[in-house]
Structures are given as structure tokens and as C-alpha cells.
Amino acid sequence: MASYFIRRLLLVIPTFLGITLVVFTITRLVPGGPIERIISEAQQMSATEGDSAGTSQSAANDAPLSPEQIEMLKEFYGFDKPIFISYIEWLGKVLTLDLGTSTRYYDPVWDIIKDKLPVSAYYGVVTTILTYLICIPLGVLKAIKHKSFIDSTSSIVVLIGYALPGFIVAIILFVWPAAQWDWFPLGGFISEEFEDFTAAEQIWDVIHHSILPLIAYMIGGFATMTFLMKNTLMDHLASDYIRTAIAKGLSFRSAVFKHAFRNSLIPLATHFGNNISLFLAGSFLIEKVFNIDGLGLLGFESLVERDYPIVLGVLVITSILGLLGNILSDFCVALVDPRVKFD
């Protein structure tokens, strides 16, 4: 099994190279990067002030910046080399844990990402925990009370949640509970006056801010997890070993919780790795609706502003998390179910 995981880990490398190379190439090919921004800034400025600039015809007739100046800019931003070579250079830096410098903030990319990580991690971890805390009992209940009133009504509710994309749920929660009824703050992670609060108020403030986003985050994964729990538990309950156990005099209760329950957790475990990486990366749509300053919003905004070092930095973090998440899932399965052998 160890060899299996080693092979999986090794396969991460080409995949990671592939992802970053594709995105790196795209960011190089599209217009609107820092150099074009400076050129167009210069253009706009000369439109207002530079009319009579240049006594000599030649200087004034050209574009606002000379080719030499543009070359200098390219060198300044590292755009002066062919794509592949600069990709290798970028990759070399990444390997030494240097994600480069933002082309807009001129701060190290890692520092900027580091600032946002706690927020994303908070939502990621809390969402994952809450999802399991709610889905497992609900799934068990639904399995035991199959076809009862509780089962069918909760199915409808869960399915409706599943039907709606997370950002639509976020919008609904933003419009009514937050904006119209004023029950929750309009967005953000903490209040402005956070620093003046007492500890208890601070805790409440964070909770108060995070209730709505958490619902929006959770609601999609809810259905899958709940039904998975329910269905596997029901399969197990119907299987021979449980029948035997009960025939031998074990109570239904202990049959469910001592035997069937544990075995039913296996498929849930396979989702664990995916969930955690997904939530850590955040959904920028939900972050945008609630104005949460997390990793997702950072990626989105730097993309809009063409700050490619940050875009690539966020991509590195999320894709590594994603790839490792997959492996983690397999590992969880192996942990829960000793019979599983990978080859």
C-alpha cells in the first residue's frame, strides 16, 4: 500500500506542472497585463497634458512610450523572456517557496495569501465539521425511519438545498435575512469596531458574521453527504451480518451503532479530502456576495486586476490542496477500512 501512495504522490508532480503551465501560458498571452496598463496610463495622461509636448516631430508622433522604454518595462516585470523560459524560472522560485511579487501591491505573493488563509481556513474547517455533524445524524435518522414523514420532508428540504447553486443561496440569504430584515450584518468577516469589543463580544461578532456564509457554503454538500450516509447505512442494515447479530440477540440499537454505523462511514471518508480542499479554496462567488476577504475573492480580484503572480500563487495553493485532498481521501478510506488494499 505504501508503494501505492508513493506512486500517487509522484503522479501529483506532472499534474501540477500541467496545470500551472496551462494557466501560466494563458496569463502571458492575454492583453491587459502590467505593461499595457502603464502604456495606456501614459496614453491617457498625454491626452490631457502632453498636447504640445515635443518640439521635434519624431518624438511627438510616436506612441507615448518609445520601444526602448517598453523593453525596460518588460524587463522590470520579467516579461522580456520567452514564455517557456520564464515559466521554468517561475517554477524554480516556487520550488524554493518563493511565489514572486505582486505586480500591483509589490508585496511578496506569499505574504498576501498568508493574510487571507486564516479566513478561508476558518470557513473551510467549520463548514466541513458542521457538514459531518449534521449529515451523519440526519442520514442515520432517515435510514432508520425510512419512508416515514420525517424522511420524506427532510428529503425535500435537502434536495431543494442541493438544487440551488451556493451563490444563489448566498444571494437569498443576503437579500432577506441580512438586508431586508436586518438580522445579520451585510457582510465582511468581523465588524469595524472589532478591536474595541470584549472577548465574548468578539466571539459573538465572528459567529454573527459567519452564520449566513456558512449556510451558503454547506447547503450544496449537504444532500450528497446525507443521502450517502442514509443509503449505505440501509444497505448495511439489510445485510446478513446485521440480521445474524440481531438473531443472536443483539439489540437493534447496538446493531446499528456498533456494527452498521461504523462500516457506513467508509464512503463518507472518501469525501473528506475533497471537502476540505474545496472549502479551503473557498467559493469566490459566495465570498463576493458576502464581501469575505478570503482566498477565493483574492484570486478573483487579482484576475480582474491582472495581477498574475497572485493568480498563479492562489492556483498553486489550491491545486496542491486539491491534489493532496484526493490522496488524503484514499488514505482515509484505508484508515477506516483495513480491508481496502490499493494496487
Binding site: G32, R37, A42, E49, L65, S66, E68, N291
Partner: protein, 598 residues
Amino acid sequence: MISKIFARFWLIITLFCFGTLGHATDKLPENLQWQTNDTAPIFASPDAKKGGTYRTYLSAFPLTLRTVGPDSNSSFRGAINGNQLSLISLHPNTEELIPELATHWAFGEDKKTMYFKLDKRARWSDGKPVTANDFLYTLEFMRSQHIVAPWYNNYYTEKLDKVVKYDDHTLAIVATKADPDLFLIVNITPTPRHFYGELNKDFVKRYNWSIVPNTGPYQIDKIKKGKSITFKRKKKWWAKDLKYFQGRFNVDRVIYTVIRDQTTVFEYFKKKRLDDFIVTFPNYWHEKAKSIEIYDKGYIKKHWFYTDSRESPAGFWLNLDKDLFKDPNVRYAFAHAIHMDKLLNGLLRGDYSRLENHNTGYGEYTNPNIRARRFDIKKVEELMTASRWKRGTDGIWEKGNLRYSVKVTYSFDGHTPRLVLLKEEAKKAGVDLQLQRLDGSAAFKLILEKKHDAAWMGWSTSFRPRYWQSYHSDNAHKAQTNNITNTDDPAMDKMIRAYRDSIDPQVRIRLAHQIQEKIQEIGAFVPTYKVGYFRTAYWRWWQFPKVAATKNSGGLFEPFGTSLFWLDPAIKKETEQAMKTGKHFKPETIIDTTFKPK
């Protein structure tokens, strides 16, 4: 390549050094007529009280505190530059010259040199005196490749010839050529050499967040990265008793907080966490600020202030290189198919007004006889039929394989409703507008490459009208120039050349009028609207002089500009008490038309 640039760079530096050395022995010309100005009217209120905090917002945290170099062109640069005085300035209402860092000035006979005597009291915020050396350094600084600001490199090389120092407080600034408005070019700001020293390749990174010594009324006090920036008033500011600075710069602190979302800004204002809220947009003034509790109870005031400033030439810019627009009749028809009346009165509630001319608000330089073409389907039909076009089955004009379908390139999302309305109306006149919204840089790139049919945009304004960049044939038919209509007209070229070469104001005014007529005749620019006012809602404890702002001002609360507000602590206390007890005041809306053009 690189070495070539380097060679060039060193050449500039050496020339420059020689220049200064050479002139160090220069004598000041003797027959100079020194001028100053202590007779212009004051515009601030002598009753203004000092103290208090003014809280406003930024929609994004600035990317840098540098005022040159990459990403320095943000709105926040205004706040930093506002605290950096220049040699002289223009009186905001009368536009006469008034002293700033210089107490006296004189014009040289060559019409390209201006002499200045510095105020000996002038100090940097770190206490060092401001001397002629700091102006010499400005030139060196702005010409340096290390600041990664090619536009400034060019500007300070092509426009300014040199700075000559006579003694620590006397200097001359020489432009490269004579100019009728010379003071606009030579009126530079000092740069603290003692702070920067020798520049090197690290400049952009090293000074990204540094607080540079300044000469103005405030200095940055606290920075919370990504969240807020606080300016603090200098208690012992060297210029606080100068005539034109009295009664201004009244608050002790100015706090900028980052609020990304416009809806949240309004919520913050209502919760008293911001001092003012700009309601210039028609839907804000009429919907949002209409019946809110704090207004009905009189806790906030609403202020509508008309200005008389130079208006941005905003509208449709038709690309004359497109087959469709080769025929002037078709261009005129385009203007007649744009239903500005319906836009202004139907959607914009009659708040904005029609822009008539390429240069509006330039005083004598504006040709008052030019009137923009109005929406008129009959005229469209006459013009199009005269050029032998016919309406197709969908009502859109056709001729051979041409169809009157125009792609309109624009970038600001908020303008979509306006264009959608114009599109629906133009359809009635047989003109099909296809809206093409691109993000700012992509739109600008496409337009500068002259690949657009029609561009919906406005240029920023300048002190005097300028035409060479936008209308001279030198800049037509090629990428990366500002002649986005591809205007290529020999008569126009001649007038522009004459306008640029003349330094006689009367000749220039006459030529400007003729050029504006020519622009109208060519019909490639379809002017749309101008705003012509600003509107603000603010808490009632903010006080203003009788005329609350100046002729050219951009708002009531421009803490480092010509704004005149101050805080009255007694009224603040009274209001806050009233809010607790539920007491009301009379709701107040002020409409000030002092400067509204007739």
C-alpha cells in the same frame, strides 16, 4: 538594447549636470518685473473653527503611496499630491496666479523662462527648509529611469529644459519652448533630495509604502494596510497664516477607510460612520436619499452645488476609417439618431444637461454658437435618402452590402442602461447599435488600435483646449495615438498647427472657435452630456461659508483641495443629543446656483 538605453540615460544625466554647473555662475537678469498677488478675494470663511475628524472612504486600498511609477495613478494620489504644494497656484474662482511656495514670480523675455522667489519660511514636514535644490532634484528625479514612469521621463525631458538656481531661494525654470500659458508647464513641485538621495533599481519596491516629506497642511499619520489611512493636520504648518490658506484645512484628522461596496457606503453613512455621502447620481439623489429617516428628521442636509468647470468631451467617437462613416451624411444621421433628450429627461431625471460642444466651459475659448445635433428621425431620413440608403425589412438602413449597424465600445458597466435606451431609440431611426462592453484596458486597447466603430468615452480636461492629439492627421490611421476618430483633414491640420504655434491668446481663441466649428462640420464626435454640478448629503454639524465651494471644485469635502468645510462642535453635540431624545430639526436641502452658467 539595454546598454543603449543606459548610454542614453547617462547622457541625460551628464548633460544635466553640465547644465547646472554651467548656470551656477549665471546672474539673475536685472530688469525683471517681480509680481505677487495679495489682492485676490479670499474664498474661505474667517469664522471657520479648527478641530474634529472627517471620515471618508476609498473603494480600494491604494496599491502604493508613491506618486510616480507603476500603479501610482489611483484616486488616492490626489490625496498625497494635495499635500505637496507647488510654486504658485491658480485662484479657484478668478484663475489669477496666487503665491504658494513662491512669494514672487517674474516672466522672462523669451517667454519660456519663469523666475521665482521662494518663501523663506517654507519647510518640509521633517523640518528641513525648502530650497532651490529641491526643484533641481525634481528634474533629476522625474527624468530617472529608476522610477519606472516613462511618461514622466518624457514629459520632464521634452517640456522642461532646465532649472537654474541663483541662490537658495531664487530660481528660474525654463521650458523647451515658448508657451502662452507658460506657468502651467513650469509650475513644478519640489522633491526632497535629502529623503531620496541617489536613486537605484530598488526605487519602486523600496518607496512603495514610504511616507515622503511634504510641504502641505497634512501628513499621513497611520496606515493600516488594506483597511485605512489617517492624515493628521500639522499643528505648526509653515503656511497656516498665509492669506489664501486661512480658514481652510480645518479638521485635525482625515480618515480614509476602505469600503468596497457602494451599498455598504450608504449604510455606513446612515450609521454616522461616514461624514458625507455623494449623491450626484440621479437614482441616489431621487431614490436612496429621498425619504430616509435621518433626512426627514433633519439630522443630515442635502446640498446641490452647480459648478462652472471645464467639461470632459464625452460622447460617441466615430471611426472615420470604417466604410460606414466615410460619408458625412451618414455621420450626421448618427448624431440625429441619438435621442439624448429621452435619456436626459426619461432616465436621468433631467439632472444632467446636453453637452453642446467639444470644448465646454473653457471661457473665451469656447465657441458659444455651436449646438449639438438633436434627435430627429425626419433629418435622418433626409440625410440617408440623399446618400441613397434604403430601410431594410427590419427597418435598419441598408445600401449595397452595408448595413447601418454600429458596434459601440465602452467599458463602464453603469453606462449600460443609458446605452440600452439609446439603442432602442436609434432603432426607430433605422440605426442599429450593438453594445460591446469590454473591461477598461481591453476597451482602451481596441480603441487605440482604431478597431472600433464607435467608442463611448470621455477624455479628461486640460486648462486650455488641445487639438493636436485628437484631430491632427499626424495621429490618424495608426495605433497608439489619441486621434481615435482618424480625423484627417488638411484644413484642420493647418488650423491646429497655427493654434499650437501661436502664443497670442487672441489668435488662439479665434482659431479655437474655428477648430470647434470644423469638429462640428466633420461630425465624428457626437457630444452627449455633462454633469455640471455635484450633490452631497452630510451630517448637519458640518459648516460652510455662504458660498460653500469654488467655481471649479469637485465636491464639498475635498480635505486637501479647495474645500472650505469645518465642524461645529456645539451643533454636533446638539444633534447627537437630539438623536437620542428623538427631537427633530427642519429638513434642509440647499441648492446653490452661484456659479451655474447662464
